[in-house]
């Protein structure tokens, strides 16, 4: 053949479709999950160093830009959870007595577990 044509992949290929954009944001959200882990480690470290250290940490956390980052991070982590919960049934094929557990049930199970764990953590923290 005289020559096949290869359509070049656009630099911003992920802006071409809503589904691609969502995918890239989902992947990006793992960065913010990592941020929360780091933040949590810093918090634990601050507490273990005593009350003064915790004060300093709490003040620092109150800066507008830290709050802003954490709000954005929380949105991304929510996105992360929602998208991965939605995809969970595709990877988890569970059979109970011969019939496949319907996908919505698996998603519901994930949310239920999340709610339960959150309730436990909240109870521990707030009591």
């Amino acid at each position: 053949m005289s020559g096949t044509y290869q359509r070049p992949v656009a630099l911003f290929w992920w802006l071409e479709r809503r589904s691609y954009l969502l995918f890239v944001l989902r992947e990006l959200s793992s960065v913010f999950v990592a941020w929360f882990v780091v933040f949590l480690l810093l918090l634990v470290n601050a507490i273990s160093d005593g009350a003064a250290s915790y004060e300093r940490f709490a003040n620092w956390s109150g800066h507008w830009w830290v709050v802003a980052i954490n709000v954005i991070a929380m949105l991304f982590v929510l996105l992360h959870s929602v998208t991965w919960f939605a995809l969970a049934p595709r990877a988890m094929v569970i059979k109970l007595r011969g019939t496949r557990v319907p996908p919505p049930a698996i998603v519901a199970g994930h949310y239920a577990a999340w709610l339960l764990l959150s309730a436990i953590v909240a109870w521990v923290v707030l009591r």
Binding site: M1, S2, Y5, Q6, F23, L87, R90, A91, G98
Partner: protein, 247 residues
């Protein structure tokens, strides 16, 4: 309903063009006409030089996959009236080299498919005189979905990983491997493991999920891949913990 609809069709003549050019045609807008009927009208009546593949026109042969208004579609299974008043933009399937007009080269898939051994692998094939291998309807259901692939390539066209990493084995090939892995008559799962768990196999997949969205037959290749990730990971751990035990 209007009389006509515009089809904007990608043309690529390697001897003349360095890249595809869009050309507009007016075709009749009839109630039962698929996009494919519009294309055959163009070829039969307006411009015989338009090249495209088609055969069964009932969504089972997989020949007529093209990009319609940006989406990978079987042109025999989408209807002009769905796009009215138009225009309808018809381009070749993305992620494949274009040979001519709306015809792409799917040689890459044809090369990759045999590497996953999409056939029944058994140590011993019992003679047919002994009758069929028994397989209950439940066992059939385990792999049935993955056996529905018509090799239309819409999934490859939709997959951004395939566009960025052409070595990726791809959704359909992996789904077909799973079809055999999950077939109760097959004993070849260990033989397929190597290819599937290679860097170009399942681990290249980042679960975008577009393949399953594009699939006209409900095969759910994304599901096949994710499930296999679980299997492959389990095998890897088993291999680490119990290196001497037979799989």
């Amino acid at each position: 309903m209007a009389d006509e609809i515009t089809l904007e069709v990608a043309r690529y003549r390697p001897e003349l063009d360095s890249e595809p050019v869009m050309e507009s045609f007016q075709v009749p807008l009839r109630e039962h006409w698929a996009v494919l009927d519009g294309l055959t009208y163009i070829k039969d009546q307006l411009d015989g030089t338009l090249s495209f593949r088609w055969s069964c026109r009932m969504g089972i042969c997989g020949s007529c996959g093209m990009t319609v208004n940006g989406e990978p579609q079987l042109t025999c299974a989408t209807f002009l009236t769905d796009y009215a008043p138009g225009p309808v933009r018809v381009e070749p399937l993305r992620n494949f080299p274009v040979i001519r007009d709306l015809v792409v080269d799917i040689g890459d898939f044809m090369d990759k498919l045999p590497t996953v051994k999409p056939w029944i692998v058994r140590d011993v094939q019992s003679p047919v005189e002994q009758g069929e291998y028994l397989q209950t309807p439940e066992q059939l259901d385990e792999y049935k979905q993955f056996s529905m692939c018509i090799n239309c390539m819409l999934c490859y066209s939709a997959c951004p990983v395939y566009s960025l990493e052409p070595d990726f084995i791809g959704p359909a090939a992996i789904a077909l491997a799973q079809r055999y892995n999950l077939d109760s008559r097959d004993e070849g799962a260990s033989e397929r493991l190597g290819v599937l768990s290679s860097p170009e196999g399942i681990w290249a997949c980042t679960f975008v999920g577009e393949c399953s969205a594009a699939c006209p037959k409900g095969v759910d290749p994304a599901g096949a891949i994710q499930r296999y990730k679980l299997t492959a990971a389990t095998q890897a751990i088993k291999g680490l913990l119990m290196p001497r035990s037979r799989r």
